[in-house]
């Protein structure tokens, strides 16, 4: 296993390099001359060709792509993601400044998703075909059919605008996070519930569940301690996936709720073609994703004794 972990860590290298290549390519492929954009942030000033040429050579844009990438990558390793075209600040610093907020949001949404996914999923199976199951199913279908930003608008309308129960937007107190967390986790919670339920039901059909039932275990215990470990891998993959993607998923939510996280940074970057910022964003979400997935993989390997303990049949 120790070896396994090392191998997995080693396998991260090409992934990270791949992500960096894509991020880099984003800047290269995208229309627009970085030199010019850098010179003309407000769009009110036309730089002269000489100025552009000078900046191009300063930015190394006149060199072959490979060299550019190498240079860019070197800077990357030093934690230098370049400076934003739009406000001239170092991208790395800006991302770091905004990251905690997004992580906070992501973390709370993730926890909510985990909890509701596992809890309601299990509950639905425990009360299979009874009213809690039906109710949960209904809730899941409604949540899944409701576009995320609608939920955001609706929540704002009802809870904040008409009732003043919660602040509409911004940061500060825990209350500020309630609505963004809810919206961010709604759809995924629904999917997680669904998947947990389906996965559990599948397990419940396995012969060893018959044996477990023969022990007279309480329904809840039966589902939670006997079927859940088997049903977990797909759910975990989903949750990990979600956590990994959550940094990229908060784009619209952050802008609606006026949360200055990296999602709203990305949106600004998109609209202003601020490629260093976008590159930084892609890198950071990509890396985060990869790390999370590594964790999930290791976890599910730990949970699967056959893989962990070498019962796996090798293919000849």
């Amino acid at each position: 296993m120790g070896l396994y972990v090392w191998r997995r860590l080693l396998a991260l290298v090409p992934v990270l390099v791949g992500i960096s290549i894509i991020a880099f390519a984003l800047g290269v492929l995208a229309p627009g001359d970085p030199a010019e954009i850098a010179l003309n942030r407000s769009g009110l000033y036309t730089p002269t060709p000489e100025q552009i040429a000078q900046v191009r050579s300063e930015l190394g844009l006149d060199r072959p792509l490979v060299v550019q990438y190498g240079h860019w990558f070197q800077n990357l390793l030093r934690g230098d993601l370049g400076t934003s075209y739009t406000n001239g600040r170092p991208v790395a610093g800006e991302l770091l400044r905004r990251l905690p907020l997004t992580l906070q949001l992501a973390g709370s949404a993730f926890m909510l998703t985990c909890f509701s996914g596992l809890f309601f999923g299990t509950l639905a199976v425990v009360f299979h075909r009874e009213w809690p199951d039906r109710l949960i199913n209904l809730m899941v279908n409604l949540l899944l059919s409701f576009p995320g930003f609608w939920l955001a608008l609706l929540l704002i309308l009802v809870l904040a605008e008409n009732r003043s129960l919660l602040p509409t937007s911004g940061t500060g107190t825990l209350a500020h996070f309630v609505m963004p967390t809810l919206t961010l986790s709604a759809a995924t919670s629904a999917i997680a519930i669904r998947l947990t339920r389906a996965s559990l039901l599948q397990e419940m059909g396995k012969p060893y569940m018959l044996a477990a039932r023969a022990k007279g275990l309480h329904r809840f215990r039966l589902v939670a301690t006997n079927a859940l470990p088997n049903a977990l891998p797909p759910v975990m993959a989903l949750l990990g996936n979600y956590l990994g993607g959550i940094l990229g998923g908060s784009v619209v939510i952050e802008s609606i709720f006026a949360l200055p996280g990296i999602g709203s940074y990305a949106i600004e970057a998109i609209f202003t073609r601020d490629y260093p910022a976008l590159q930084g964003y892609v890198l950071i979400t990509g890396t985060f994703y990869v790390l999370v997935m590594l964790l999930v993989d290791l976890l599910s390997v730990m949970l699967n004794p056959r893989v962990r303990l070498g019962g796996a049949s090798s293919h000849g």
Partner: protein, 344 residues
Amino acid sequence: MTASSHFHTKEPIQPVMTPEAATDAHGEAATDPPHLTLDALAVDFHLATGPVRAVNGASLTFHHGTIHGIVGESGCGKSVLGLSLLGLLPPYAAVTGRIHYRGQNLLQCRERDFRRLRGRSIGLIPQSPQDSLNPVVPLGRQLLDALWHHALPRSEKQSLLCRLLNQLGFSSPASLMQAYAFQLSGGMQQRVLAAMGVAADPAWILADEPTKGLDQISKEQTVQLLKTVTAQSRRGLIVITHDLPMAAALCDQVSVMYAGEMLETGPHTLTTPCHPYTRGLLASLPEKGFQPMAGKPPALGTRFTGCAFSSRCPAAMARCQTQKPPESRPKDAPRQKVRCFLYA
């Protein structure tokens, strides 16, 4: 106290006393001994290809405190009968008749009542060991699960299990408890299941082929354990098996099943067989000549009017084809109950 310190203690285990066991232990006086009585039990599976009647009107009483063996043709409905006692048949199985237990008819139980029964009153040692162990839950947890309704501290449960496993021939129960099902050989899985069934210490244990795939020593250990459990705390034991010598040695009563019906029941079934089928069965033992019976059993879906065995019976008479033989007691073996016109 660690589990491994019990390695070589060979003292027989003291099964935990459930409230039920306690009353039983004190109580010959118990007004309602927890016998299990089957009354015209029938199980039908409604399949797309037609109905299958796996158990066909079996009536039988399992007496508490005794070991009752069920032997018979493979596929004659033994496991189905067992599962019907626990209410574990699939929902498309239609169970009719009655199962009396402690004054109630189990067939009218709801799932919840059944759940209370399972493990506490009737425990199961399932037939297919590989199928019956959860592949991703360590064996220790599964074993502990069997003890869930005992209010014992975890460590005590663990040491109890260790002793049990020890008795079944596992030299290091502690490491076994950490292992997973796939790491065990077939025989080991079989014994783990046996331990699981016994550990819960239910009033009744239903063991479905508990000794198959076991070598001689393990088989003896398992049999010994089952015996001890029934004898010491007066549990009831139902053993389904194909191992006739073992059944003969272990059981107080043996029933012979054939095509969903009980052909013969009694204490001497395997020593002084009455029914032709039982005799044929014994004759197929390797040491008794290894001669199979001719023919094959009838399809379970069809309703035959006569004796189920009549088509293969060497002593078949004309009415065997048309009439069901009544249950009768042969004169020379009055404690046997046989369904055959030979004794009618």
